[in-house]
Amino acid sequence: MDVVEQALARRAKQNDVHAFAQLVELYKDRIVSFLYRLTGNREDARDLAQDVFLRLYNNLHTYDSSLRFSPWLYRIAQNIAIDFLRRKKNIVYLDEPLGEFDDQAWQLEDDEPWPDEVVEFKDLQSALEQAMARLNPMYRSVLVLRFAEEMSYEDIAKVLNLPQTTVKTRLHRAREALRRLLIERGYFEDSQRGEKDGLR
């Protein structure tokens, strides 16, 4: 698969529109889904996906065809999604580095009421999706890349332009942040209570 993509990217780089179209065809659903998982809005995801592929086309000359193509494309998508979310101003702390022991990691993106005050969660899956929407996008993206896109740490590191160790740390914190959000809303039991009680 990688070989095919690299070959297509190489041809697209030489202004072969048909090869470029094949790349778009190959990745369109994955990129739209990835963006949807990051933005939570179908229309935004589709519009942003178009931007992703246009930026891809304009930047193909910078693509090193000896490297794998998909992390490079996801990186473009990730940057576009983050820019978009920043423009929407629903997050104010994106520029700040995520500290190693960031207590605010699981903070809500805004002060809106939880949807269960409007719409009742059907099940844990819905609760998880709602909680994901409230995670810091940097955490959200690392979770999506790892578990929904099933990327290796190496690829995630390339997408996010971070060392693998940072990716692991961030993933751990993201998962923990999500868990705490679900505990807060009563979907999970607080498993640390036992520790606090001095169990082990």
């Binding site: 369109k28 889904s33 998880l128 640390q192 520790e195």
Partner: protein, 205 residues
């Protein structure tokens, strides 16, 4: 196995625990309700993210993206694809048109063995003046010959016509010949080479 080790292993999704570690983890889960819950929650989160809804791109997505490509990029693409044909067309236009003009409208030319004879060429007309006598044959290409003087030999008219004035006289025969298309091409290129030689000769002088 203690809680910290268990939680480290349960979160290390890139390193599958070996059989012994798996057994220790199972044992710990059986003994520690807190960690058992923790493990379940982590697994539920990971599975839940795997099941996050995706969205399909619209059917016309590819064509929409292609429509949005900048037009100059498309031109660049077309150029890269068709550049050989483009160069060929350009060369054809550059060289083909003058060649066509030379072939379709050939320059008049007159050849004579009598180098001293004064034969005039005015536009498409070749004039042998009244007081001129040509000792030998003359050949006229692509012109109208006006014989006002005298030709002591034959007249060969290649794709040409002629008229003889009151004082004019041709001692030999008048022979007509039409250039074939190929001859016209050869003649055209010979004319070009003559023009080039003349130009270069003038430039050197």
């Amino acid at each position: 196995m203690d809680c910290a080790k268990y939680r480290q292993l349960i979160c290390a999704d890139d390193l599958a625990p070996d059989k012994e570690q798996r057994q220790q983890m199972d044992k710990h889960e059986a003994e520690c309700l807190s960690c058992a819950n923790y493990g379940t929650q982590i697994r539920q989160i990971e599975k839940g993210i795997c099941r996050l809804a995706g969205v399909k791109a619209p059917d016309d997505f590819v064509s929409e993206v292609l429509d949005c490509l900048p037009s100059w990029q498309m031109l660049r693409t077309v150029w890269s694809r068709w550049r050989v044909a483009g160069v060929a067309v350009a060369l054809l236009l550059f060289f083909g048109f003058p060649t066509y003009m030379l072939v379709a409208y050939p320059q008049p030319f007159v050849a004579s063995l009598d180098g001293s004879a004064r034969i005039e060429v005015l536009g498409q007309t070749v004039i042998l003046p009244e007081d001129v006598v040509v000792n030998g044959d003359i050949t006229v290409y692509h012109a109208s010959l006006q014989v006002l003087g005298r030709v002591r030999g034959n007249v060969f008219l290649v794709s040409s016509g002629y008229s003889i004035g009151p004082q004019g006289k041709v001692d030999g025969r008048i022979v007509f010949k039409e250039h074939s298309p190929w001859d016209k091409v050869v003649y055209g290129f010979r004319n070009i080479s003559q023009e080039v030689r003349a130009y270069l000769g003038g430039a050197w002088r």
